[in-house]
């Protein structure tokens, strides 16, 4: 049965994940990625953006990144919105994000520290 096989796999994943978490426990030095999950964000594609971000974090074994959500912040026409907050750095807000952009944000900004200026919110 598929379910039993899946549970066995889950136990393996658990052990694998446990080794990774033990490497870092301090929350201070984590990068936060915040996805807009209001009605506007969801209808503009925030779910696919979120799943792409999580997938990229998994593929790259990033253990120092936390993904959270925010509701509508009143900039509905720029949704999906993604904030990247690196420790001790100001928040950077990306607008009209799609899954492909989201993967690049993880690779270029979160991992390599290069803000992708052309996707960042215009001055408000």
């Amino acid at each position: 049965m598929g379910v039993i096989k899946s549970i066995e796999e889950l136990e393996k994943i658990r052990d694998q994940a446990r080794e990774l978490i033990n490497l870092r426990k301090d929350n201070e030095n984590k990068t936060r990625i915040v996805v807009g999950m209001g009605t506007c964000g969801i209808s503009a594609g925030a779910r696919e953006v979120l799943m792409a971000i999580l997938d990229e974090i998994k593929k790259r074994n990033l253990t120092d990144v936390v993904v959270t959500e925010t509701g509508c912040i009143g900039m509905c026409r720029f949704e999906p919105l993604v904030d990247v907050i690196k420790p001790n750095q100001p928040k950077v807000t990306y607008v009209n994000v799609n899954p492909e952009k989201a993967r690049q944000i993880v690779a270029r900004h979160v991992v390599n520290n290069q803000v992708i200026d052309e996707w960042v919110i215009p001055n408000i």
């Binding site: 899946s6 009605t39 979120l50 998994k58 993904v67």
Partner: protein
């Protein structure tokens, strides 16, 4: 919204902003009765009768960022388009249940869409909340509970990206099996 599973994500977000710690999501697909139903039951702070009435008005919201609230009105619209309806029951201090019923064969019914992604997204963003997802399709049943999963995971957080990836694949496979696929 392009698919019903996105409405589910949106309505559950309402539950979570109302302080819910437990959310039950139940989807029933029944071709004999020609019904597709989606029920979302939470233990959030609930609403009084007056607020329940206002909740489906697009010009009502409790938020201050903007003057409209479209989550429930969009669900009502999707239901109406498919000869269905939305019922909201709420008890202040106890919680809210939103149940949407659609005519399954209706040509204007939005596709159910990717429930596996919706549930995975909710678990990833709200690891502290308990979700119970049941999906009954033509009498066959899938049940997924984060409480049970957390016991298996021991100290590993449920929102660990490896675990979320497993949940996504597990739900996809299980839903596929519900539909009669291998």
């Amino acid at each position: 919204m392009k698919e019903l599973s996105l409405h589910v994500l949106d309505i559950v977000e309402n539950s979570l902003r109302a302080g819910a710690t437990e959310v039950e999501i139940r989807v029933v697909e029944d071709s004999n009765e020609d019904i597709l139903s989606i029920e979302i039951k939470d233990n959030g702070r609930g609403m009084d009768d007056e607020t329940v009435k206002k909740a489906i008005d697009p010009f009502f919201t409790t938020r201050t960022e903007r003057k409209v609230g479209l989550g429930l009105p969009l669900l009502v619209q999707a239901a109406k388009a498919a000869e269905g309806n939305v019922a909201i029951k709420s008890i202040p201090g106890k919680g809210t249940t939103v149940k949407a019923v659609f005519k399954k064969s209706h040509i204007d019914l939005q596709p159910l869409g990717d429930m596996a992604k919706t549930i995975s997204a909710l678990v990833a963003l709200h690891p502290e909340v308990e979700f119970i997802y049941t999906h009954v399709k033509e009498g066959r049943k899938l049940r997924f509970s984060t409480k049970e999963l957390k016991e298996k995971l021991q100290e590993v957080p449920i929102n660990n990206p490896l675990v979320i990836d497993w949940i996504l694949r597990f739900l996809k496979k299980s839903l596929n099996e519900l539909s009669g696929g291998a």
